[in-house]
């Protein structure tokens, strides 16, 4: 695969601060949890470099992005340098004033608000008391200003049985066009609370079946890049291929799961360039000191990450004898790192064989 001259998009952790402490937060107590934020001027200077590099999109995130008092100035810098932006938020700090400003730029692709429950009880179980109401209110403010609003539901032990109601709230009562899902993964604070929040194999089986059923009911308006819905689709395809003894379909059989490092790069709240916010431990350089284009094209760690797709799964002791090898892509490198301490390894979390050994069941129907 040929490498682009410069990254097409970046995820920017504009702050390390957040007004909440969700029990499954992947940020806090992980390597992205740094001791200071950058100044307005440092970000604005970097945005000029992004403009020169013809970067198209940035995702503003934290911590909680709306906690920054200078958010308008940062957005103005992004707009001035001819980029579009999205914001990831817990929704609780969105005001009419900032929403009007965002809408006025005409450059916002979407603001994503996290809603994890159909009621305060389920949403607040991991996010803290009072935050369901504030998040729904934040969502309403965005919609009032006609800002494309997206919702992400993180599935965990306390809301896995609330999925029907969540879909009803978001798709019927609030009439959103759709929402996306993932699940609490073993990173950051979640590592400390894993027993309490992470899905068991049984929970995962139930969530997969429920989400597939809901997608039939709601015309595929629920999406996922990770978590039970994504796993259901991928694992059912793998099982079908195994049963029918199909030939391997490229790029399966190799560590090919993540293609992010071919199109984007991320920045930690302290200005350190990293391959992905979930892999904040890999430090590639520092903004405004190191040249972004040169880091993107030449950094040995990034080059090594881009070599992952050449590593066959059969080389791993972990995969020895597994019948899914020709249909498997090895899963997320960040989860492989957080679980095993190495990125160049299949992720145990994405492993179908392991899931079945733990008593997990795939849904019956395609």
């Amino acid at each position: 695969m040929k490498l682009m001259n410069t990254p097409k998009s970046l995820e920017l952790s504009v702050t390390n601060r957040c007004n909440l402490r969700c029990t499954y937060c992947s940020h806090f107590s992980g390597p992205g949890d740094v001791d200071h934020d950058l100044s307005t001027e440092e970000w604005l200077k970097f945005f000029e470099e992004l403009g020169r590099c013809a970067v198209m999109n940035v995702t503003i995130q934290g911590g909680e992005a709306f906690i920054r008092k200078d958010l308008k100035e940062l957005i103005a810098g992004i707009v001035r340098n001819r980029m579009r932006f999205s914001i990831l938020s817990n929704g609780t700090l969105i005001t009419d004033d900032i929403a009007a400003y965002i809408a006025g730029t005409g450059r916002c692709s979407h603001v994503q608000v996290s809603i994890d429950g159909s009621t305060a009880e389920t949403h607040d179980a991991c996010r803290g008391k009072g935050n369901f109401e504030k998040a729904v209110q934040g969502l309403e403010i965005l919609r009032k200003h006609k800002i494309p609003a997206a919702v992400r539901t993180t599935i965990h032990r306390h809301n896995v049985n609330d999925l029907d109601n969540i879909a009803e709230l978001l798709l019927e009562k609030l009439r959103l066009p759709g929402f996306s899902t993932n699940s609490a993964s073993y990173m950051g604070l979640c590592r400390e609370h894993a027993e309490n929040v992470q899905l068991t194999a049984e929970d995962r089986s139930s969530a997969m079946a429920t989400l597939l059923r809901l997608n039939r009911k709601y015309d595929n308006r629920i999406s996922a890049a990770a978590g039970p819905l994504a796993e259901a689709k991928m694992w059912m395809k793998m099982e079908e291929s195994r049963r029918e003894r199909q030939k391997s379909l490229p790029p399966c059989g190799y560590l090919t799961s993540c293609g992010c490092m071919w199109s984007k790069i991320d920045i930690r709240a302290d200005g350190v360039m990293i391959p992905c916010t979930q892999m904040s431990h890999i430090e590639l350089g520092r903004i405004n000191s190191d040249d972004l284009k040169s880091v993107w094209q030449n950094h040995p760690e990034l080059k090594q990450m881009r070599e992952r797709p050449n590593i066959p799964l059969e080389e791993f002791e972990f995969c020895k004898g597994c019948e899914y090898i020709p249909y498997c892509r090895g899963g997320c490198p960040a989860l492989a790192y957080t679980l095993l301490g190495k990125e160049t390894h299949p992720s145990p979390d994405s492993c179908l064989k392991r899931f079945l050994e733990q008593g997990g069941k795939l849904p019956d129907v395609l």
């Binding site: 040929k2 490498l3 682009m4 001259n5």
Partner: protein
Amino acid sequence: MENEKLIANPTIVLREEFDDWAVLFDPDTGNAYGMNPVSVFVWKHLDGNHALEDIEKKLRAECKNVPDDAGVFIKEFIADLVAKGLAGHKFQNA
């Protein structure tokens, strides 16, 4: 019209990729358009100093194997850019 100088919309981003191919990105709409090397050459000359025929002349002078009908391609390409609001004719004082 054909002698009028052409100018690119300054909001539009040219992302040069590998092998002289590129993408034109309109941040206001989010639309992106793939560009072949000839289109990139034309885009880079939409600087307010060149008219359509100047660009064709330069292309023939600077590039090898330019097809006979390149002028038609350039004309259509520019018309398309103007229709999409990605470029326009430079305003000239009388």
